[in-house]
Amino acid sequence: MNTNLTPRTPAPDRGGPAQPMLIVRDLKKYFPVRGNLLQRKPKFVHAVDGVSFSVPKGKTLGIVGESGCGKSTTARLIAHLMAPDSGTMIFDGEGVAEYGGLELKEFRRNLQMVFQDSFASLNPRLTIADTIAYGPRIHGIAATEANRLTHDLLARVGLEPGQFGSRYPHELSGGQRQRVNIARALAYDPRLVILDEAVAALDKSVQAQVLNLLQELKAERQLTYLFISHDLHVVHYLSDYVMVMYLGQIVESGPVENIYGEAAHPYTRALLSAVPSMNPEHRTLVSPLAGDPPNPINAPSGCRFRERCTHAQAICEALTPTIMEVGNNIHHQVACHMNNPMSGHTETIQEISA
């Protein structure tokens, strides 16, 4: 594998446009919970429990869900920042870190991540320019070339290179720091960028600027985004496809217009109705979702959402719903017994959405 690729030449498109950028199959990560000395059996938090999805090239997949539903763990597993317990990943038609597949270093050139905490993700002892140039230097780019690249990137993300390059992170505002993080992620022309709550910590006006920057960069560089957020407005704005997670599992996924227009899963509906309405005539008067997510150590049997679901029936406790297409739309999938006429659930998706 050639490791001396300059960052200016984008990594080659291997699988062609129809090949999804990333396919994830049955990803699992259990964290052991430390009990006391006398506790015999170790317990596990099922942080990510059998997640499968694919991200088409040049599109944005938004992942939404409450805190602790496994969004960020999923991101870290994909980025190989932690090792999954099981599951496979195919990046543009090739397995990662497997025999004959992509080497990890090469894979990481193709995939970059922008973190939520803009301050913690920048080394306080390095100047902005040094931070951005670090990655290319690691990949063997000469110092002058790396400096030029840093200069261009800073200018591209809207920071005057002469002014900001020699500054330290604490001298920048949150929005400026997040631009630096984006510039760093783009330093080697990645093809897939994971945005882990990348705009969540910014205030609304800055958030809008950064989102627009992300949209522009995506178009310019043919990027594919994996956008993780709990902000449904932002996901709606940026995503092509949306995946809703609950307690480490996918409950619903589909094109953004299907999810926001005709959400099938009761959880997705609850999330959407929890978004404050702009119209005072349509106030949210009843809390759409009661209680906290159950303890992930002892996740409920059957459907994990059943304890908070207003439509729960006996079948929901007995059987775990499988993820199935909604109607004839092969892209829109949901894991709910009400979607399956054979399940024995007396209600249907169509009834409750009416």
């Binding site: 973190f115 905490d117 080394n123 390095l126 990655g135 690691i138």
Partner: protein, 294 residues
């Protein structure tokens, strides 16, 4: 983002942009620090250049001029119990006393940071093993441990240096390890891993720079302790041997003269006191000067 909307720079718009230049700039503004630094420099200077500056021979005894008081003719600070010039011996004594203060701390700083970085970055079981082993050293009071090690190795300057280094290593490791463990979990380390960098590069560029600062500050605080412990060892007869001039040893031998000429007997103690408190205060100033970031 236009240039007119720039964030105002912090108060330290130092001319040099490098971190240490900014620390130096900050330190220069601190009058107390500058005063203390000049006192320390004076002591260090007179110790280094003692052979040229000292008025007399530090080993030349004179039975006729024993225990002369301060301000005697020809002996500005009097003479000791063997009639040797006190000023000369204090200047020469500074050479060994300062070395005994600085060398163990320097050695412990290097060794301790290396071990602490390794333990902190590896984490898990390795960390457990290293830290628990060092806790054994840590459990003893440092004076007791210094006496025990020096006693076991036998008296002498190099053995006291080893003993003092062994005492300070676990303390430095603790600080380095805890800071490394904190830093290791931060996002910028993950971002560096994402860039495909190896562990060595990450430690060198991203961890070391952030760990060095608190460890450095902690170590400067150890300087005075090291000096006092070294003097203590010499006082107990475990460090430097007579007739070598050393502040702790001088304090011991002049002990018997305390009823005859108390001011004279106190002089070596005064030197130890001034030097160690100067180190301490300077460490404080350096600490606050290094705090400009965040």
């Amino acid at each position: 983002m236009t240039t007119s909307l720039l964030m105002p720079l912090p108060a330290v718009a130092a001319p040099g942009r490098s971190y240490w230049a900014m620390v130096w700039y900050q330190l220069r503004q601190d009058r107390m620090a500058m005063l203390i630094a000049s006192i320390l420099l004076l002591i260090i200077f007179s110790a280094i250049f003692a052979p040229w500056l000292a008025p007399a021979d530090p080993y030349k005894a004179s039975m006729l001029h024993r225990l002369l008081p301060l301000g005697s003719e020809g002996h500005l600070l009097g003479t000791d119990e063997l009639g040797r010039d006190m000023l000369t011996r204090l200047m020469y004594g500074g050479r060994i006393s300062l070395l005994m203060g600085v060398i163990p701390v320097l050695a412990a700083f290097v060794i301790g940071t290396a071990i602490g970085l390794f333990a902190g970055y590896m984490g898990g079981k390795m960390n457990m093993i290293i830290m628990r082993v060092l806790d054994v050293f840590y459990a003893f009071p440092s004076v007791l441990l210094a006496v025990a090690i020096s006693g076991a190795l036998g008296p002498g300057m190099s053995n006291s240096l080893i003993a003092l280094t062994l005492i300070f290593v676990p303390q430095v490791v603790r600080v380095a390890e805890s800071v490394t463990t904190q830093v290791r979990k931060l996002d910028y380390i993950e971002a560096a891993r994402m860039s495909g960098a190896g562990a060595f590069s990450i430690i060198r560029v991203h961890v070391l720079g952030n760990v060095l600062e608190p460890v450095f500050v902690y170590s400067t605080g150890l300087l005075s302790i090291s000096m006092i412990l070294a003097s203590g060892l010499s006082f107990l007869g475990l460090g430097v041997k007579p007739p070598e001039p050393e502040w702790g040893l001088m304090l011991n031998t002049l002990r018997s003269a305390i009823y005859i000429n108390p001011w004279l007997a106190a002089l070596p103690g005064v030197m130890i006191f001034i030097t160690s408190i100067a180190f301490n205060l300077l460490a404080d100033s350096v600490r606050s000067a290094m705090d400009i970031r965040r």
